[in-house]
Amino acid sequence: MADAAVARSRSYARRERRRRLGPLSVLTHAALMVWTVLVVVPIVWTFLASVKSEDEIFGDAWSLPATVRLDNWARAWEQANVGQYMINSVIVVACSTFGTMLLGSMAAYVLARYPFRGSRAIYLLFVSGLAFPVYLALTPLFFVVQNMGGVPVIGPFIGLNTHGGLILVYIAYSLPFTVFFLAAFFRTLPGAVAEAAFVDGASHTRVFFQVMLPMARPGIISVTVFNILGQWNQYQLPLVLLTSVKDKWVLTQGIAEISADAGYDADWAALFAALSMAILPMLVVYVIFQSQIQKGLTAGALK
């Protein structure tokens, strides 16, 4: 009875608020819809073009496809190598994000909770990386990676035109933000649980992996999301480090190349299909994890 009354008064209050905001709220939604359309239409238009025929693509841009041509998608996947590029991206990002999180959290933890002479300097060394434009380092980085290729035994796996080399570079360039963010996070965690574990005879390493890391979960998730997206979307570094071997390219390189190659005799339908293929997985992942993704990407700015 009381519940029903509360529910009724709530819904009344809501109705009342909406009524009061009447004309203003219509204008508000009109303005918000304008930007919604601006965001959605180019993407929907791309998806529509990906199932059009060549003639339809070169015809009126706003016409709908007469038949849904899924063979465009098949051609993009097979002949334009989008499938290969996507697998490469998955391999590289899986390894580099895992490596970034492992090394980044280890460094951040020690720097945050084990002060020693020089630990502050090491912390600043990491954080200073946030201020440098990557373009300054491009030329020397190219030669560093080239030289790493000459290292005995492991050289062939980490030189130029190898996924290993790209992965190590991704890890190194993701460390500044990862260390900066996680060190701040580790500092806020209470020390009592760790002390209890030490009393029980746990080693430092064990306390890190089994006590502190699980406690830092929210921060770890945010930074992981941030790194996955940043590394997946990276274009500049693979452009420099994976120049000559097309079969090793990541997705962003592949998509950019298809459009650069596209002349008059190009397969435009396959270009749109490739573009849609690059967008679709992001859309699916985003719809499922949107709140974590928004938190992860804005994490750095909300400190």
Binding site: I43, A61, P140, N233, Y235, L271, L275
Partner: protein, 295 residues
Amino acid sequence: MRFAVGFLVLPVTLYVIYVIAPYAQAFSIALTNWRGVNASPRFVGLENFRRLLEDTVFWKAVGHNLLLLVLLPVLTLVIALFFAFLLNAGGRGGAGGVWGSRFYRVVFFFPQVLAIAVIAVLFQQVFRPDRSGMLNAPLIAMGFEPIGFLSDTDIALWSILGVLVWQAVGFYVVLFSAGIASIPRELFEAAAIDGAGGPPMFFRITLPLLWDTIQVGWVYLGIIALDVFAIVWVMTPEQGGPDYSTTVMAAEIYRNAFEYSKFGYASAMGVVLFFFTIGFAALALRLSRRERIEF
């Protein structure tokens, strides 16, 4: 202590090899005339910087970066503040915001998760100059001349600015919405009791209390504007064209280093970009420093 060293040795080694060493080397390479992969660098002092002063293409690039540096933050922040204000009805709506605000935030934010290289190819198609282009098709249908979004030297840079704003706005809408939601409701209620309407409430309460967040956004967007590369390199004809009308510092660095193999010269450009970045960050922090409002 042994534990601390053990945990730090790998990350620090990797970081020094791949990040610190290249940055340090860049400054010394900038003082050499190093050309070509097999040539050996020779010290030439500030010669590269003297030549940069006369390099009209590079100064065009600097001009474009500076234009973006001013306009990208201004446009993005104003649009984002406007939408964040609408979504939260000035904060009065409480945590929930207006009806459907979650939906709008999800849609607005989506471009942020797409790679710039992908967005560049997408808008290349949207901007096509004939009736197969998404924007030109309706113009032509209405009897207007098609606009050369990417082929007209007076327009191409604005197209780039438009795409950058298109991508960035959602991020700041979400950021500012979170900021507005964290402002205590009592402040809005007190203002409402005092008779403040929407706009005064926005300018007197929301805006001042969001100032820190806006400042962070300003620095982020400024750095994005100085580091523009993929959108120019992938979307524009001649990679920075037509006739260098859209080129930016990063594109010229890449072109000089990896197409002309002028490593010394490209590094000098990198040093200039570095000083622009540091200068901008210092300036932004200085200009926007003001008393912090605790709440």
